[in-house]
C-alpha cells in the first residue's frame, strides 16, 4: 500500500486531512520521540476532535478573543500604508540600508486556489533573487510550502519576506511587548521556532527555482510592540538552532513508512461521524486504537499537544515516572514506574541486574527520608 493510502486509512474514510501550519509544525519539534503524535500529525488526524471523543478534551489551543483582536490590530498597523512604518523600523532600528522599497501584495482574490498563490509567490521571489542587490521589496501575504511526511503543506505566513543586501529576511510580527529591549524568553523562543519553519520553506522555494537557498538569512526580523505602546520595534533573532532541530524532525517524519510499519494491521483513528458530524465510534474502541501506537508523554506535552490529557491519564495509570517530569525519571535512575521506584526504595522488590545501581540510590534516599523525617516521611 502506498504511504498516502496508509495515512488515509489511519485518518478514516472521507475525512480531509487537517492542514498543518507553522505553529503545528513548530510543535512537532517539541517531543520528537513520540510515535503517536508523529503518526497522527503525518496522517492529518484532527487531534482536537480525537481527544474530545476519548473523553479527555484538549486544554490547549484556546485563545482569548481579546488577545486575538490585539494581535490582529497590531499586525494591521505594522503593515499599513504599504509597510511604511516597517521600512522606517528597518532603517532606524536595524540600520539596514534601504533607499526605497516596493510593496508587493501576493495575496489576491483567487485565494481559494492555494497552488496558484504559491506559484505567484515563487515567481515573484525568484524574480527578486535575479535582480540587483538593492532591489528592496516587501512581500505581503506570500505563500510557501514544505513537505511534511511526504505531504505538501502550504504555509501562509502572517508576515512578510524581504530582500536586501543580497539576503531575504523573514519578518515575524508578534504582539508580545519588548520592554526596554527585553521580551519574555518563552515568547521569543516560540516565535523563533515558528519563523524557522518559514525560513526553511523559503529556502526550499528558492532552491526549487534554481537559486542558492542561502540567500535566505538565518536571522529573522522580529517586530513587536515597544514598551507599553502600540508602536512597533524590530530586532534580529538568530534561528540557526531552531533550523537544525526542525530539519532533524522533518527528516524523521519523512521516514514515516518505518513508523507505519510498526503499527498493527487495520488500526485507524476514524471517528466514523454520523450525518451531523458527531462521532459514532465508542470511546473505548478509539482509546484502544490510540494505545496501539506508542506515546512518549511528558508534562511539556500539556502545552503543546491536544491529546496530552489522554496520554497523561494513561501515564498515570501506568505509574509513569516520566509523567512527573523527564528529570524525575532520570533522577530515579531511569526507573519507569513510581511503584517500582518506591518498592526498590523500601526494599520490597529485588532489583533486576540492570536496576542494581538505581536500587542502591533509591534505598539510600528512602533510608535518609525515614531517618531524618521520621513521622513526617
Amino acid at each position: 500500500m502506498s504511504t498516502q493510502l496508509r495515512l488515509d486509512a489511519l485518518r478514516g474514510s472521507g475525512v480531509i486531512a487537517k492542514p498543518h501550519n507553522a505553529r503545528t509544525i513548530a510543535a512537532l519539534t517539541r517531543n520528537p520521540g513520540c510515535t503517536r503524535r508523529a503518526v497522527m500529525d503525518a496522517a492529518g488526524v484532527d487531534k482536537d476532535k480525537t481527544a474530545a471523543a476519548t473523553g479527555h478534551p484538549a486544554s490547549i489551543g484556546k485563545l482569548s478573543p481579546l488577545a486575538v483582536a490585539r494581535g490582529q490590530g497590531f499586525e494591521a498597523r505594522v503593515k499599513s500604508q504599504g509597510g511604511a512604518e516597517l521600512l522606517r523600523l528597518l532603517r532606524e532600528n536595524l540600520g539596514l540600508p534601504i533607499p526605497q522599497a516596493h510593496y508587493l501584495d501576493l495575496g489576491g482574490d483567487d485565494d481559494s486556489v492555494i497552488g496558484g498563490r504559491y506559484l505567484r509567490s515563487r515567481s515573484a521571489l525568484a524574480a527578486s533573487a535575479d535582480s540587483g542587490p538593492d532591489a528592496g521589496t516587501l512581500f505581503d501575504h506570500p505563500m510557501l510550502r514544505l513537505q511534511i511526511a511526504g505531504v505538501w503543506v502550504y504555509l501562509e505566513p502572517d508576515m512578510v519576506a524581504f530582500r536586501l543586501e543580497d539576503k531575504f529576511y523573514i519578518i515575524e510580527i508578534k504582539s508580545f511587548a519588548i520592554v526596554d529591549g527585553v521580551a519574555d524568553p518563552g515568547d521569543v523562543t516560540r516565535a523563533a521556532i515558528q519563523s524557522s519553519v518559514y525560513v526553511l520553506a523559503l529556502r526550499n522555494l528558492l532552491a526549487d527555482a534554481g537559486h542558492d537557498p542561502n540567500l535566505v538569512a538565518d536571522q529573522v526580523i522580529l517586530v513587536c510592540p515597544k514598551d507599553f505602546s502600540n508602536q512597533p520595534t524590530a530586532h534580529f533573532v538568530d534561528v540557526r538552532k531552531q533550523l537544525t532541530v526542525l530539519r532533524r524532525q522533518l527528516a524523521r517524519m519523512a521516514d514515516i513508512d518505518r513508523l507505519l510499519d510498526s503499527l498493527p494491521d487495520g488500526v485507524t483513528f476514524d471517528l466514523a461521524p454520523d450525518a451531523h458530524g458527531l462521532p459514532t465510534r465508542s470511546a473505548a474502541d478509539l482509546a484502544h486504537a490510540l494505545r496501539s501506537v506508542e506515546a512518549r508523554y511528558a508534562p511539556e506535552c500539556l502545552s503543546a499537544c491536544e491529546l496530552a490529557l489522554f496520554c497523561r491519564h494513561d501515564a498515570h495509570d501506568a505509574h509513569s515516572t516520566a509523567a512527573l517530569g523527564r528529570t524525575v525519571r532520570e533522577e530515579l535512575g531511569g526507573v519507569d514506574c513510581t511503584s517500582t521506584a518506591v518498592a526498590l526504595g523500601t526494599g520490597t522488590l529485588v532489583p533486576t541486574d540492570d536496576l542494581v545501581q538505581a536500587a542502591e540510590t533509591l534505598r539510600a534516599a528512602h533510608a535518609l527520608r525515614t531517618a531524618i523525617l521520621g513521622q513526617l516521611a
Partner: protein, 500 residues
Amino acid sequence: MSTLTSYARALAAETGQAKRLGTVRHLHVHDRPLVIVPLTLAGETNAPVAAMAGSQHDKPTVIVAGQPRMRSKRLDFAAELAEVVLPFITECAQRIEYVPTGRDGSEMRTRMADAPQLWVPNPGGISYLRMLGRMTRLRKTVGEYAVPLPVPEMGKWLTWFAEQSEFADTSLLQATTRALSGVWATGQSSVEDGNLAALMAWIAPPPGQSGAQAARRAEDPVTCPPAGPSTDPTFDAVVLKPALDAIDKATSDAARARLLQRLADDLTGQLQPTWDLVWQAIEALRAIPAGNHVPHRWERDRDNFGGYYQHLASDGRPQARRDNAERSARRLNDLERRLALYDAQRAFDDPMVMAEYRMGGDAFCGNVIHAEPDRTVKPGNRRQLRPLIVVQTTDPLRLLPGDADLTDQQRPKQTATILDVQHSGTATHVTLELSGSMGRGLTATPGSVPERGGTVTYSRLRTGYSAPGAFPDRDSIPWTHGGPPAQHIATEDDAREEWS
C-alpha cells in the same frame, strides 16, 4: 531537583498524598502579609483588569479597571492600588531597632523593626508587579501627563520588590506556588504545580479525597479560575469581552455604572478563589517550623528595606530602565554570594537539605571512631598542632585525599583536610587532619576537637562572611564595558511614554 525530591514525588504519586521535602521551612512568614492577586487583559502588555489586595483575609480591597485599554483608566487603577500598598509600607517603617556594630560591638546602628512582605499567587504575579512598577515609576507628577504622587511612588517600590525577589534568600516578595513547592512534593510534575489550585489540592485536599483526585478537579477553570495574571480564555470570550464592549457603548453614566458593577462582581468571582487559596497557603506554611537561619535572613531583608526607604527619602530618583555595567556586575556578584550562603544555611538548618549533599557525595556524615587530639606536625621550623580524626560513614563519598577546607557545622572555623579514604565493606573510613580554632598552644582546648563517638558532618558549605567582589568605581569603568555610565535622569520622554 535531586534524587531526594524526585523520590518524594514518586512517593506522593504512589500514596496520593503530598510529601514533605524537609524538616523546616526556609522562608519567613509575616504575621501580617500583604496579598495581591492581579488579573491582566490577555494580549496586552500589563493592562490591569482587576486586583484583590489587602493584609487581612476577610477584608480584601477589590480594584477594577473599567476600561483597561485606556491609559487614564490604567493610571486610575494604579492610583487605587497605591492606596493599599503605600500605607502598608509606611506602617512597616514606623519602628526601628538598635543593633550593635563595629569591631567590638560597642557602636550602635539602626534597623527597621519590621518590613513589608508581599504575596502573589505565582511567578507570573511577580512579573506583573515588575511590569506595573516599570510602567508607573517613570511618570512625572507635574507638567504634561502628570499623575498623582502615589503612582510613581508605588512604581519605585514595586520595582524594588521585584528586584529583591530575584535573590534566593529573600522573603520580601513571595510567589505562593514557589513557596509551597519548597516545602512539599506532589505526585504531579512541576509544570502542573504551577497551577495554585491543583498544588493546594495536593497539599490540603478536601475531606474524603486523595491529593491526586482533588488536583484533577482543581484543574477545571470553571470551578477553579486560573490564579492569573492571565484570565481564562473562555471567561474572556463569555464575560469579559462582551462586558468591556458594552461599557464602551453605554449611552448613559447610570447604565455604565450598572455594567461596571456587574463586571466587578464577575471579576470578584474570578479573584476570590485564588485569594482564599493564597491565604490558605500562607497558613499552611506558617504551621511549618522555621529554620534557624530564617530570622537572620529576615534581618537582612529588614536592613535592605530600611536602606531603600532611606534612599527614597533622601534621593527619590526612580530606578533606570536598564542597569549599567557597574550595577549589573555588583548585582550578579550579590546574587551569587547570597545564593551560596542561602544553600549553606539551608543545609545546616535542615538535615534533609544536607542529605542532598550527602547523596551527591559532596558531604558525609558519620561517627568519629578514632581521635588524636594532641597530634602535632613540623612542616617547617615551628611545630604545629594538627589533630587527626577518623570518621566512619556509609555515605557515598566523592571527596578524595587532598581535598581541603571542609568544615563541620559545630565548629565552623575549624577546617579539615582529607588525608586518607579507606573502604571496608559498606562503610568508609575517612582520615581528617584538623586545623584552627582549638586554642593557642600545642594542646587542643578541651571540646575544641571532635571526640571519639561524636557525630560529625563535613562539607565545603560555609555560612561565614564572604567578601563582595572588587569592582572599579563608576568613573573608572573601562570602555569595553561602556565607560563611566551617565547618571540616570528620568527624562520628559520617559514620562510621556505612550500607552495604548
